[in-house]
């Protein structure tokens, strides 16, 4: 059966999927941590556990509290619209920060291990080549991070921007009569 969902319903559904994925990542990484022996893989899993915990503690908390605030339809129109504006802003901020944070932490993990490997396994000219590689990796990380920020901002603007603009106009109109 096809289902009909409003914008808040879709936001809530997406947030639940993301939450489920993060929980799976957390459980999988924790189980994996006790099974693997390699120090490198274990450190990587600790990174993943840390990212999942930060996501659960910050991103999902902000996201869900923002969505919860959007659902209160019994409030006055002024309060409801103001709550919608604040909630959507909170969601946008959380989404934007999480996009940037995921890219940043992914590059961080990769570059950290590349540097660790270079310092422990190579010496002389080979070490220098490895360090240049890590340096190039850092430059790429900065470029990709900037690109991600731009894309994330544009995507969020396309998804929620118009809706937010309209709600802000409604709120201004209600305030204008004050």
């Amino acid at each position: 059966m096809e289902t009909k969902q409003n914008s808040i319903g879709r936001l809530r559904r997406n947030a639940r999927w993301e939450l489920g994925f993060t929980l799976m990542l957390l459980v999988g990484s924790t189980i994996g941590f006790f099974y693997v022996k390699s120090l490198e893989t274990r450190t990587m899993l600790i990174w993943l556990i840390l990212i999942s915990l930060v996501s659960l503690g910050s991103y999902h908390r902000h996201m869900l509290s923002g969505i919860r605030g959007l659902s209160e339809v019994g409030a006055t129109i002024h309060a409801h619209v103001a709550q919608q504006v604040a909630g959507i802003r909170q969601i946008l901020e959380a989404s934007y920060r999480s996009s940037v944070w995921v890219v940043f932490s992914t590059f961080g993990i990769v570059l950290f291990f590349a540097l660790y490997k270079a310092l422990t396994q190579y010496s002389g000219r080979l070490l220098l080549i490895q360090l240049v590689g890590v340096g190039l990796g850092c430059v790429i990380a900065v470029v990709v991070s900037r690109f991600t920020r731009r894309v994330a901002r544009q995507m969020l603007q396309d998804l929620y921007g118009r809706h937010l603009d309209r709600l802000e106009a409604t709120l201004r109109e209600l305030n204008h009569s004050e």
Partner: protein, 168 residues
């Protein structure tokens, strides 16, 4: 699928014309009106368990709040799809809108056209005015002071008068 509690269905039966009028004001096409109606009923269903009666506040005040909040905040986000996900609303009777005919049909049509050109907030003022709500109740629904309702109402009436006198 969950069955709607009897008091909710009674509420819906009693206030269905009110909800239909909100839908009619905010949507021009019949399909969109039906979509909005289903959305409002869905939100009412979800909010109904949290509804707490207050002294000197009518149930209709709460209903207007929910209906107008849904109409104003979600209108342009809606996409038309065949069925509803809201529990219980699939089985609700599909009541057609009251027909607009008779000697005043043209005037009424013209009025609706003029209202259609107002902003979402102005439409709410017009609706509450046409529904003969008091300024006190309007203030309680909109969340602004009675004095501001008076000022805003005057401006909306002026705007509507201009729209009715000028060609579309």
């Amino acid at each position: 699928m969950l069955a709607a509690p009897p008091d909710f269905l009674a509420l819906l039966n009693e206030y269905q014309p009110l909800l239909r009028r909100v839908c009619r004001l905010y949507c021009a096409a019949a399909d969109d009106q039906q979509d909005l109606y289903q959305e409002i009923v869905g939100q009412l269903w979800q909010a109904w368990p949290r509804y707490q009666p207050r002294p000197n506040v009518k149930l209709s005040t709460w209903l207007y709040r929910v209906a107008l909040n849904v109409a104003i905040s979600d209108l342009r986000q809606r996409r038309r799809r065949p069925t509803s996900a809201h529990p219980g609303t699939d089985r609700l009777p599909d009541v057609p809108l009251p027909p607009v005919d008779g000697p005043d049909a043209d005037d009424l049509h013209q009025l609706y056209q003029a209202i259609n050109r107002l902003s979402d907030v102005d439409k709410a003022f017009v609706l509450l005015y046409l529904e003969e709500r008091t300024y006190e109740e309007m203030a309680d629904i909109l969340g602004i002071t009675q004095n501001n309702v008076r000022v805003k109402m005057h401006r909306v009436q002026e705007k509507l008068r201009q729209l009715l006198t000028q060609p579309a």
